[in-house]
Amino acid sequence: MSTEAVETPIHYPFPWTPPMEIPGALRGLREKAVVTVTLPSGDKALLVTRYNDVRSLFADHRLSRNIARPDIARVSKDNDLFMDPKIDPDPPHHTKVRGLVTRAFTARRVEALRPVAWEIANDLMDKMEAGEKPCNLNEAFAFPLPIRVICKLLGVPAEDMPKFRALVDGFLSISKLPPEEVAASRMGLWKYLDDLIQSKRRDPGEDLISGLIQVSDEDNNRLNEHELGFWTQGLLIAGYVTTASQIGTGTAVLLHNRQMVKEIQADWSLLPTAVEELIRCQIMGSSVGTMRYAVEDITLEDGSVIPTGSSVLLSEESANMDETVFPEPFTIDIRRKENHHMTFGAGLHYCVGAALARMEIQVATEGLLRRFPDIRLAVPGEELPRGLGGFMEGFTDIPVTW
């Protein structure tokens, strides 16, 4: 038996206890530059903990993004999210594919969508006002808003949203749903997207999916049929669940810290830094999605070595709590200006939707705090349930009143 087996295993993702606080496991974690963690599947991976290492490894080509390998750690035995042997997520091929979608996410395109996001937010808040109090902020506002924005951008018909949402929610479950239900959701989602692509091919619009179909039809080497489906699915999932969870859970954290709400309402120019700070605190998830595979030995800043063949997780939440980079990292500071956090990653895989997400979260937060000046949690913040077991660990039920 190796000496390592004697040590207490560190389970990852880290538990949220109490649910309103940043996981205690993140305190002191950076004493070691890399720690071995045990995933829900039972597999082990190396978790990189320090800001400088995380930031440089996000841009390091010796870590492959291709996780369709027999010897890589699995987050869950039942979920194969983004594990597709027919997809090459590394440069140089991926850089070309990525270039096809970045044009839809420029600052100019995002700002053109800001009035659309306001329109959707206002519509949802009208419905909240007309409905019963308290209501679940996730259901009434946080989840419908980003799905309507991303569906508009991609060209998904409004009437398909409930069906699409149910499929995504099932697919993203790691351990809370039985494996056969996860598999059924996965199949259902592929079928849905396949049908959508076929209908767009017959009847193209001005949306991103239609644009990608055109590229694929013109030159199969740039984007083949399978990649078209895979990346459409990736954009839909990434554009929906992450932003939704951040809006709901970020708002809950703000409402729990009433003083911050009052400060923002007294000075709206604080809103962008407040939103950015809540994104830094990464209150709704872990870094299981950063899984990479070392194709060479990699030496970290302090001399620690990640051996070839390791499964590697780049801990965004630990980097974001690095005391050498962020003064008082465990304090939520809505005025923090030097806030170059790792929640959206770094390097060539930097979140393509980051500007879109920021815009939506800004609109959502400002909208709620302006329309409902007295908005508050209807239960104590410490009692809000978290969605453990899924890729998204934000609060699942956020009763609010005003």
Binding site: A59, G99, T102, R103, F105, T106, A107, R108, V110, K337, E338, H340, F344, G345, A346, G347, L348, H349, Y350, V352, A354, A355
Partner: protein, 65 residues
């Protein structure tokens, strides 16, 4: 101050456009454009902030030029 940005490494994070508008812009694909390579003094602080923010470190600022 002189400002350069690398189109090859730019990952279209868009932060520079938000933090120093008028100095940085994007082409149709989203890659960074430097509109003012020798920006006026009042923009310098915003440009340094934008450069520190860049997720791919694609912005180079030469202070003495």
């Amino acid at each position: 101050m002189r400002v350069e940005a690398s189109n090859d490494t730019c990952a279209v994070g868009s932060l520079c456009v938000y933090r120093a508008p008028g100095v940085f812009d994007q082409d149709d694909d989203g890659h960074v454009l430097v509109l003012q390579p020798n920006p006026p003094a009042e923009m310098h602080e915003a440009i340094r902030w934008a450069a520190r923010s860049c997720p791919t470190k694609s912005i180079k600022v030469y202070e003495d030029e």
